[in-house]
């Protein structure tokens, strides 16, 4: 048993898995509630986008995006190392995801 206080300190990670559009986000925390890894916490300022406390733990399943009631308010980013090449078949032009 302990009486120790608890703190929220944003962890650093080389990749930022999520982006928020503060104009679209209504701060409902549906994304916080659905995330099975629990990487976000509600913003102390009610109505603002959540804080990604543990970005390095993200599993990238996109459940947060799927649960968001305001399309575009939250986006799942790709890590740079995971971008895949695709080629337009008839022109040979290369693109990346």
């Amino acid at each position: 048993m302990t009486s120790k206080k608890a703190y929220a300190i944003v962890d650093t990670a080389p990749a930022e898995p999520l982006s928020f559009d503060a104009d679209l986000c209504i701060g409902c925390n549906a994304c916080v509630d659905v995330c099975q890894v629990d990487i976000m916490i509600p913003n102390p300022k009610v109505g603002l986008p959540p804080i990604v406390l543990y970005p390095g733990e993200c599993w990238y399943d996109g459940s947060c995006v799927d649960a968001c009631p305001e399309p575009g308010a939250i986006s799942l980013n790709s890590q740079a190392k995971d971008r895949v090449l695709f080629k337009r078949k008839h022109t040979g032009e290369d693109f990346y995801t």
Binding site: M1, T2, S3, K4, K5, A6, Y7, A8, I9, V10, A13, P14, A15, P17, D33, V34, C35, Q36, V37, D38, I41, P42, P44, L53, Y54, G56, E57, C58, W59, Y60, D61, G62, S63, V65, D66, A67, L76, S78, Q79, K81, D82, V84, L85, F86, K87, R88, K89, H90, F95, Y96, T97
Partner: protein
């Protein structure tokens, strides 16, 4: 910043139930539903949020081995026999028979709950893989039709709703930490349920009965004491043992990072019996290196049987098991002449098996020898329209972790399945080349030993899904979950109440909260990386007694850090730290299992340099390990210990066969 949730390190909540389900993924939800339907009062404990948690929470594109669906041309007996033989006998005949026999029952159940299992919108009317009468869609073998394509993003929310409707008490954001047990001396000659004691246990020894669990809340730090007549372990399988990236772990992991095998660790500490834990395969997916699953061009699973082209646009040839060219796309979905069936997807043998090998593109070295040029690309535009749309849109989209990160993201980047080729980055279904010591528990790995009721060697303790030995996919998790749920409920009906052991509870409370007090700077990630290094070095592709013994010493040295604590600044970090201690326990379990098999075994991908002879007949058996009074007890079971499949099943499921099955 202050922690946003109430901090309740000093609070304890006590609950009791008939059936306690640990883990709220696919197996856990089905176990809770079945137990509740059988009249049990159920508590479900889930570390994440049940609505989407677990490896199958975000989706499932195909449901394997539903051999009783009305279009199947294969019986459950034939299919289970094929699966077991494709693994050289090192397989769980009981659990896979349950999967084959009850899979379609669960799909019909899901449909009633609101899950989508058939093409009710007629999107694929007229497709080769569609049955026009039932509107069911099939994958892989269109002749035998035992695996279904499904809309699995609809499943987990439906299961979650059904749990709530049935009154299951769901404890989300709660991590189970230990099993509570009571020990008594068994009466000589007393037969326990099912087929009796499992591998390592003998009459006259203390017999443990599991009577619940402890848990801790991942947001508040609150402690839970959960009493139960029956407990079902549904907490996935160990991961992060050989491979761990502290920097970028998540994106390419096949299973969620917090599905790390807590259930294995607590079962091991409680004396449960494991088998096949010595089996590990060369890694297939990991955030340390590979691309995300199903995100690159290939010909397997979700992408079966997509056409491929080489760097110069030449079509890559397909061949059947005899090396005969398979020229038409439609022929990739049929067994070879003279072949009864082939196994693909999650039940595809990872070692070559002529009997069950399906069509595939030629191996890369052969292609290079024939002048084909790398890289290869998936050529969706050349596929018949129904096949193109079922791969890109249904399979990629409904499979877990594909809807947002692949389908939506690639579409936003301009990827058009009618126009574009997608690059392939590895051979087979992999998208990276791993070194041999980089290993994973994949492809029917080890787990808890079970009897015909999916009970473990410990009375009151049942297991389902990936906690069972030789587990594989979504359908296996769902069916074994439901099966364990109803058997646990039946047991709970006649079980006597237990006496609570305050000493055990206090010891666990102390273990947990000493981590909070510790004040160490050692982060859980640092410890996990150290475990992975030890495992690659000492428990890699080639093992020996000396290597393994030294590995155990190093793991125990790491365990000493527990005494000084890990860095815990809030309940979230407490849970992560408890997890990594479970990873450490699981690493020790694997090493003990490797020490216990003193022979090399091909189908277990198990090589001992001190016992190099492959598969000596006297070792053609299950080797079991369990802990008793801190000592490892080895045991053994014949590979066919479960006897006749239909007889064993029917003898233990009279009520189900009579009333519930389809």
């Amino acid at each position: 910043m202050e922690w946003p949730y109430p901090v309740e390190w000093d609070r304890t909540t006590e609950l009791s139930a008939d059936v306690l389900v640990l883990g709220g993924g696919i197996a856990g939800c089905w176990a809770a539903i079945a137990a509740a339907r059988h009249g049990a009062d159920v508590v479900l404990v889930e570390k994440g949020a049940t609505i989407r948690s677990g490896a199958g929470g975000s989706g499932c594109d195909h449901w394997e081995s539903a051999a009783t669906n009305p279009c199947s041309r294969i019986t459950p007996e034939e299919l289970t026999d094929a699966i077991v033989r494709s693994q050289g006998g090192y397989c769980n005949g009981i659990s896979h028979y349950i999967e084959c026999r009850e899979g379609y029952d669960r799909l019909l159940d899901l449909e009633k709950m609101g899950g989508k299992i058939r093409d009710i919108d007629d999107e694929f009317r007229g497709a080769d893989f569609r049955d026009e009468e039932t509107k069911l869609l099939f994958a892989y073998d269109y002749l035998n039709r035992f695996t279904l394509r499904v809309w699995g993003t609809t499943f987990k929310p439906a299961l979650h709703e059904e749990c709530k409707r049935l009154g299951v008490r769901i404890l989300d954001r709660t991590m189970a930490t230990s099993l509570l047990s009571e020990t008594r001396r068994s009466e000589a000659g007393r037969g326990s349920q099912g087929r009796g004691r499992l591998g390592g246990q003998t009459d006259g020894q203390p017999e443990s009965r599991v009577v619940g669990a402890t848990a801790v809340h991942a947001r508040t730090g609150e402690f839970f004491v959960l009493g139960a007549k029956a407990t079902i372990l549904c907490m996935s399988r160990p991961s992060r043992l050989w491979l761990f990236s502290p920097e970028l772990p998540g994106v390419s992991e096949f299973r969620p990072p917090q599905c790390n095998g807590d259930g294995h660790a607590m079962a091991w500490r409680a004396g449960a019996e494991f088998t096949m834990m010595e089996k590990s395969v060369q890694a297939e997916w990991s955030g340390t290196r590979s691309f995300p699953p199903y995100a690159t061009g290939n010909t397997h699973n979700t992408w079966y049987a997509c056409s491929m082209v080489d760097a110069e646009g030449r079509e890559i040839p397909w061949a059947d098991r005899d090396g005969n060219m398979v020229s038409a796309v439609s022929e990739r979905y049929r067994p070879a002449p003279g072949q009864k069936l082939y196994l693909k997807g999650g039940c595809e043998p990872d070692l070559p098996s002529y009997e069950f090998q399906g069509p595939d593109i030629l191996p890369v070295d052969e292609l290079l020898a024939q002048g084909y040029k790398l890289p290869l690309y998936a050529d969706l535009p050349s596929m018949p329209e129904h096949e193109r749309r079922v791969i890109w849109g249904l399979m990629v989209g409904e499979e877990g972790k594909t809807k947002v990160p692949i389908l939506q993201r690639y579409s936003a980047a301009g990827f058009d399945p009618d126009e574009d080729l997608l690059q392939s980055y590895g051979e087979g279904w992999r998208s990276a080349a791993f070194r041999p010591p980089e290993r994973q528990l994949f492809g029917y790995p080890g787990g808890l030993m079970n009897d015909w009721r999916l009970r473990t060697n410990l009375e009151g303790l049942y297991a389902a899904g990936d906690q069972l030995f030789a587990s594989n996919c979504h359908g296996h998790a769902a069916t074994t979950g439901h099966y364990a749920g109803r058997h646990a409920a039946n047991y709970a009906r006649s079980a006597v109440s237990s006496k609570r052991d305050d000493g055990q509870i206090e010891a666990e409370r102390s273990r947990i909260y000493s981590l909070v007090e510790g004040g160490s700077v050692l982060d859980w990630k640092e410890m996990n990386a150290a475990i992975a290094e030890v495992m690659q070095e000492h428990c890699g592709d080639t093992k020996s007694e000396e290597l393994l013994d030294d590995g155990l010493t190093k793991l125990r040295e790491l365990a000493r850090h527990q005494a000084t604590g890990l860095r815990v600044r809030n309940p979230h970090e407490l849970v992560r730290s408890l997890e990594v201690l479970n990873v450490l326990t699981n690493a020790e379990l694997v090493v003990h299992a490797c020490l216990a098999r003193r022979a090399s075994a091909k189908h277990l991908h198990f090589m001992r340099s001190d016992f190099p002879g492959l598969d000596p007949p006297e070792w053609h058996k299950f080797v079991t390990v369990r802990l008793e009074n801190e000592t490892v007890v080895e045991g053994e079971m014949p590979l066919d210990y479960y006897g006749s499949l239909p007889e064993g099943y029917e003898a233990n499921n009279e009520a189900y066969v009579g009333r519930e099955s389809s």
